[in-house]
Amino acid sequence: MRIIKFIFILLLVGAPLNSCKESKAKQELAEIYQCPMKCEGEKTFDKPGSCSVCKMDLQPISKPSALLADPFEISDTSIFNLTTKWNTEEGKTIEVIDLKGKPLVMVMIYTTCKAACPRLVADMRNIEKQIPENKKEDLQYVLISIDPETDTPARLKKFAIENQMDGEQWTFLQGSISGVREFANVLAVKYKQISPMDFSHSNIISVFNPKGELVHQQEGLGVDNKETVDHILELLK
């Protein structure tokens, strides 16, 4: 008997090692039902039936807004296909898809960088300056650290404040080392650690539409931003 128990425990322990099947596809959330008279307030049910108070048939209601706020499909080329987790400078954990809805302007930097990054950051601010006042809120600027071990959320927050980039429209992201590598590959950014505190890296600013599809990439430092800004303005129309 004890042996059987033992085998059972072994099986339990061993099972997760066995495979990496497709994580259960996110199941479509079942319909949600509610009493049309709202006899029980906002109470919802996950099965059809009748209201226990007024006995009327429950009616399907729209799905929760988070799921409904999906006016577009995620296309094949969208960066929202990435499922990695990220920490923001505010200490929140998000996925890339949480950034959807606004055009995105993205760049990869690291905060201990003395040479290129300040100029890349300046380029980002420069782009922001050229966006009309009434549209400033309609954009999201995302700065991703290529040095996630050093650039903790706290450090990113400090960097944001120092560089006057602490507004709502600025987001700083800390990922896992492999998540950052993957993200860089999506942006076609190359980087290499050349000493514990120093990286060499591509200087690329990428513009994505609200669906997460790449629209434009600007390469180099201190280059004319006009084309990039034009692409952004086009998206904001």
Partner: protein, 262 residues
Amino acid sequence: MNTVLRLTICVLFCWINISNGQSKMVLIKGGTYLPLYGRDSLQVTIDDFDIDVYPVTNKQFLQFVIETPKWQRSMVKKLFADDNYLSQWESDTMLHENQSLNAPITNISWFAAKDYCDCQGKRLPTIDEWEYVAMANQKLPDARKLKTYNEFILSWYEKPKTFNNEIGSTFKNYWGVYDLHGLVWEWTLDFNSVLVSGESRKDVDNDSNLFCGSAAIGATDLMNYAAFMRYAIRGSVKARYTMKNLGFRCVKDKNQKTNENH
């Protein structure tokens, strides 16, 4: 008696777990070496790790896409693979009749290779790790200066369609690893750390050497040229690219350390 029985069951169970779809690995004893195009031409230190003895095969990858439909040809997102992804295959879950089950899988993107390894609880090797294992010949851990070693690699570059050959068809090296040279090129975890476009803020990392003559002149000509080809390819591909002569194998950290992994 009970103890013996338990032990047997335990061993048996572990063995089943390991042999279940996991390919054979060997231990690579870490060390310090000078890669041809490393950080500032400095010594690089490699920790102990396990590496697949063979590249991942068509058979193994077929099993993987059956279990992980998002990597089937018709399902894969364009963000993660170009149009040639698994293009030789007959269908989503069938090889072409000309393809051998034991030939290395090719025409896969970096994203697919990375996910495959992640799913096995492994990861792709870094460039430095791959080069460290691949500098061995049959007898020596570092044979890079030997003419025979370099000639073998270069003669492979001239051979067409070696990707159709089966795994294990080249030599077994010092570490017991096969097919690092002579079969297919292999993806590395940080292939995108090779900066060759000259756009990095300063050419501190000597990548300029790649294209500035030093690779083609001097006493270690052949050695440089053989490695030059590998680095040049790494510098020119993107993660969603697929090539019919580009495959991969996985490695595993020895101490469950989190190197380039998580």
